[in-house]
């Protein structure tokens, strides 16, 4: 076999990455063996079907990917900090910005949000788990091994280098002959299947498993946003699945769907990609709107203003999100009519989004606002996201877009939308729900330090890019000359990026510090919350609710506290729970090898792995497993331990 194609040549950086990956792996393996944690890891985590643990694993993976994507970002900002920098060469820079985009969107923002969804949704609707706990584990492991597959591309064979949008014919075998874009099609495909399963799982969970009394219009806003998001997932992801499959056929089996010859259509890829890609943006932003709604209500001590219009605006946004994809390529020459149509649909999204902004502001009005760390991120989101929103309207104007398209102005815009719209939200949600999951709060002082570093540095990093765009600097340029005059603003942006890195290091340090020193929370409701998740003990027992709560209003827990009544009227009885299973993890591993062998066109091993996948799916389908019961006595004992003697 030809080992040459596995190698990535040149760069000391890549050798450094190889060595650090090898060392980290060895370190983890040795550590697990030394502390005799293999059994623990397998029993408690790798085989778990508990939505809370799966959520925690999603978030851990997302934090790791945030680090990886952040290092990519720093390398890009360093390379462009001054004219004619020699830090990265063109090929390496192209790989770095491609993986930065892929990782941040698909392997950071999405899993972070899905992780929060996993932890919180069953709690918010008063359920004991998601509808299909095993499928949930399948989702996670497919996502995880898809992410791993993409990440090893950096050191084995080379990363994708045609941009995260992988436009054809650039991404075709003719112009990208390395295996990089094979990784793209397979890694995204594997994790995409996981996401699609998540979509189905959460729609069913939210529609079928709500506590008695919780009608659709009494669901917390986060639950609403997650429901809508998962409906978008179920409609949008099949498009990606098909597009990636066609891409794989083109690259591995010589089909000609998107190539230049034999009737292939390169623009078809762009259309398919953005038919998925634009809804994808809302998949990460709508849950963020939900998180912000919860946090604003909690920390202004008020119910959400205009609940009904909040729900309807999200529904309208989700519908419009499928009608705007062509605004990503106004410059493809579709003519005035088509461009006008897509301009108008795009600008129309500003209306429901504006409704949400004003409803949040009016929720704050007449409230009593406390500035906790999660609330600070939420409050920072409003003005920053509004800048992203108004520049979005400017970009939506087809004519003007002929001047913004492919420039740093666009880059500035989508960072102004995605960072406050998704990243701040997951950080806020992370701080907000952390005590629920782990039983102690993150330190507020450290949290606020990190916050100010992140907020100020964010603006220093990305605001100059608006001007660079208007100066004519295009995105994805690995270098530029002195005469262009792009130097000073890029240097400023790099300084901001350093500040952002400091902020994120502080944030991670806060997790470490708080784990060691923060006092344990005994109230189980540290923020004086409003929704059902705060009615469970912290940390949450495996069965979530000893007794299924009865819901009468929108903020049931708040109301129960105000009226000093209990949500839990029924007697404790035995509780049915699903068994752990190792099969989803094994399935993920096999998928990983299938993907890897296909990337390198190693047909025999690929066929073996493919058969393995089918065997595993069959084994899981015919698995007879009826779960187990936790006895009433055991539940009572656990509740006593967690809540003191009050039960």
């Amino acid at each position: 076999m030809d080992l040459e194609k596995f190698k990535v040549h040149g760069e000391p950086l890549i050798y450094g990455a190889m060595v650090s990956i090898a060392l980290a792996t060895i370190g983890i393996l040795v550590g697990l063996t030394y502390f005799k944690k293999w059994g623990y890891l397998w029993r408690e985590w790798l085989t778990t079907v508990d939505h809370k643990k799966i959520g925690v694993m999603y978030i851990l993976a997302a934090l790791l990917m945030l680090f990886r994507g952040g290092v990519d970002a720093m390398m890009m900002r360093l390379q462009t900090a001054a004219p004619e920098m020699k830090f990265l060469d063109a090929q390496h820079y192209n790989e770095v910005f491609t993986t930065h985009g892929l990782i941040m969107i698909l392997f950071m923002a999405m899993p972070f949000i899905i992780g929060l969804m996993n932890v919180i949704i069953p709690l918010q609707i008063g359920a004991r788990d998601v509808a299909f706990p095993r499928l949930n584990a399948v989702s996670f492991w497919l996502f995880f091994f898809g992410a791993m597959l993409l990440n090893i591309s950096f050191v084995i064979g080379g990363s994708p280098d045609a941009g995260w949008s992988a436009y054809f014919p650039l991404a075709s075998l003719e112009f990208s002959p390395t295996v990089g874009n094979n990784y793209y099609s397979l890694a995204l495909q594997i994790s995409g299947i996981g996401t699609l399963i998540t979509g189905v799982n959460f729609i069913v969970t939210i529609l079928k498993m709500r506590a008695p009394g919780m009608t659709l219009m009494k669901m917390p806003m986060f639950t609403w946003s997650v429901l809508i998001t998962n409906i978008i997932i179920v409609f949008a992801f099949p498009v990606l699945t098909v597009a990636l499959a066609l891409m794989m056929f083109d690259r591995l089996f010589g089909s000609q769907f998107f190539t230049m010859a034999n009737g292939g259509m390169d623009m078809l890829w762009a259309n398919l990609f953005w038919v998925w890609g634009h809804p994808e943006v809302y998949i990460v932003i709508l849950p963020a709107f939900g998180i912000y709604s919860e946090i604003i209500a909690t920390f202004s001590k008020k119910n959400l203003y205009g609940y009904t219009s909040m729900v309807f605006s999200m529904v309208i946004i989700s519908l419009l999100s499928f009608l705007v994809w062509a605004h990503h390529f106004y410059t493809m020459g579709q003519g005035v009519m088509v461009n006008s149509f897509f301009s108008i649909t795009t600008m129309a999204i500003a209306v429901p989004t504006g409704v949400k902004i004003f409803n949040w502001l009016f929720t704050l009005r007449k409230g009593r606002i406390t500035f906790t760390t999660p609330m600070l991120y939420t409050l920072a989101f409003i003005p920053i996201f509004t800048i992203g929103g108004v520049t979005g309207v400017m970009l939506a104007m087809a004519s003007a877009d002929y001047q913004y398209h492919n420039t740093m102005f666009l880059v500035a815009h989508f960072h102004y939308v995605l960072i406050p719209g998704a990243v701040f939200a997951v950080i806020a949600g992370f701080h907000y729900w952390f005590p629920k999951v782990f039983g102690f709060r993150l330190n507020e002082r450290l949290g606020k330090h990190a916050f100010w570093w992140i907020i100020i540095s964010f603006n220093v990093t990305f605001f100059p890019l608006f001007f660079l765009g208007l100066m004519g600097m295009t995105r994805r340029m690995y270098t530029y000359s002195e005469e262009t005059g792009f130097g000073p603003l890029n240097m400023l942006s790099f300084a901001g990026a350093v500040g952002l890195a400091i902020g994120f290091v502080l944030l991670v340090y806060n997790i470490y510090w708080s784990t060691r020193y923060m006092p344990r929370d005994t109230t189980s409701d540290p923020w004086d919350g409003r929704t059902l998740e705060w009615a469970t003990p912290s940390p949450i027992p495996a069965y979530n609710f000893a007794v299924v709560p009865k819901v009468k209003s929108l903020d049931p827990f708040w109301e129960a506290k105000q009226k000093k009544v209990s949500l839990f009227e029924d007697k404790i009885t035995k509780i049915h729970l699903p068994n752990n299973t190792g099969k989803p993890f094994i399935l993920g591993v096999i998928f990983f090898f299938l993907g890897f062998f296909l990337v390198f066109s190693m047909w025999v091993p690929a066929i073996v792995a493919g058969v393995g996948v089918i065997v595993m799916l069959a084994a899981m389908s015919f698995d007879q497993d009826h779960g187990f019961y936790v006895s009433a006595e055991e539940v009572i004992a656990t509740e006593k331990k967690l809540r003191g003697e009050t039960v």
Partner: protein, 336 residues
């Protein structure tokens, strides 16, 4: 006090930017299409600044007035449903703003997708601009000349660029003269562009196209009509003809300096059809001669307007036939 982030950055950025406002290329137009776009952009910035102001004022007011302080300790806000009138206001006003911007968009898009009003009565000069690897080929079917990596056009003259690519999707962009448009391998796209000030303007590919992307620039020289005619004449007399073999060599190269030829590649390597032909599945023929002949006929009826008095550049054509490679450090070998 809480929200100094954006303001702070805005201030910093303004400090940097104010000395060189003319460096904002996009807002410093030198042609009617770019001017329409610049006006559209400035108008949209004004409208959006108003929207931002409303949100920011409300935001600061709410945060200052309703923050938790000693005086309102123990205050528990009342339950508050929405308010139909208020919610209607912030639905209707944005709809009006969006409707207004939609009209502006449709009008300006229509304007730049067609020949600019002041040059409506001219028959446009047709130039084919095609990209291959990381360079641009410009073919003048009427004059029968071809250049690489630079394009000369007469001032005050409607020019119709017909764009296509010999490979990846590229985007043809001369920010000071007009907005960009994609060049693709299987379909012809059209871009109307005119310069109303003599001068040299940077043009580039703005759509990522692989390793050599960062260096894919060309010069657009807007010159007086006389200079242009002289240049065409000189090229016809001095430059070599473009043979098929020579053109194959050009296509294969990754980067090139400037090149000039006294014939075009269109004769032996016709461009793809336009969109309608593409959709019918027959995109191999393109009758570039028709446009050319028509244009020749109309030339006497519509002479080009006199050169602008506000010239910034003497417009020396300088038709270097062969120039060494510009600073393109990319030397690695790629696929062919």
């Amino acid at each position: 006090m809480k929200k100094k982030g954006p303001l702070y950055a805005l201030f910093l950025s303004l400090l940097f930017i104010l000395p060189g406002c003319s460096s904002l290329t996009v807002l410093n137009p030198k042609g009617p299409a770019a001017r329409t776009l610049s006006d559209t952009i400035i108008l949209s910035i004004a409208v959006m600044a108003f929207v931002l102001a409303v949100v920011y004022i409300l935001y600061i007011f709410v945060l200052v007035k309703y923050r938790a302080k000693k005086s309102n300790e123990g205050y528990i806000p009342e339950h508050e449903e929405g308010n139909k009138v208020l919610e209607a206001i912030w639905i209707i006003i944005p709809i009006i703003i969006v409707a207004f911007l939609s009209v502006v968009t449709v009008k300006s898009t229509h304007a730049v997708e067609n020949v600019a009003n002041e040059y409506k009565d001219q028959d446009p000069l047709v130039i084919y601009a095609s990209s291959s690897n990381w360079k641009w080929h410009f073919s003048y079917p009427e004059e029968g000349i071809e250049t690489v990596n630079y394009v000369n056009i007469p001032v005050h003259r409607a020019v119709e660029f017909r764009l296509y690519s010999f490979g990846t999707i590229t985007s043809f962009w001369v920010p000071q003269l007009a907005g960009q448009k994609y060049a693709m391998s299987d379909m012809l796209t059209y871009l109307n562009l005119s310069g109303d000030t003599v001068g040299s303007y940077i043009g580039k590919n703005s759509n990522f196209s692989g390793k050599g992307f960062a260096h894919m620039e060309f010069e657009t020289l807007v010159m007086t009509d006389e200079d242009y005619q002289d240049w065409v004449k000189e090229v016809k007399e001095t430059a070599p003809a473009l043979t098929e073999d020579e053109f194959k060599g050009l296509l294969a190269a990754e980067h090139l300096g400037r090149k000039t030829y006294s014939s075009t590649h269109l004769e032996f390597s016709p461009p793809p059809g336009d969109h309608s032909e593409h959709m019918s599945g027959d995109g191999t023929e393109m009758d570039m001669h028709n446009g050319g002949e028509e244009h020749e006929d109309n030339k006497e009826i519509h002479p080009s307007p006199a050169p602008s008095s506000q010239t910034e550049f003497d417009g020396n054509p300088a038709p270097e036939v062969e120039e060494p490679l510009p600073s393109s450090p990319v030397e690695e070998h790629t696929h062919q």
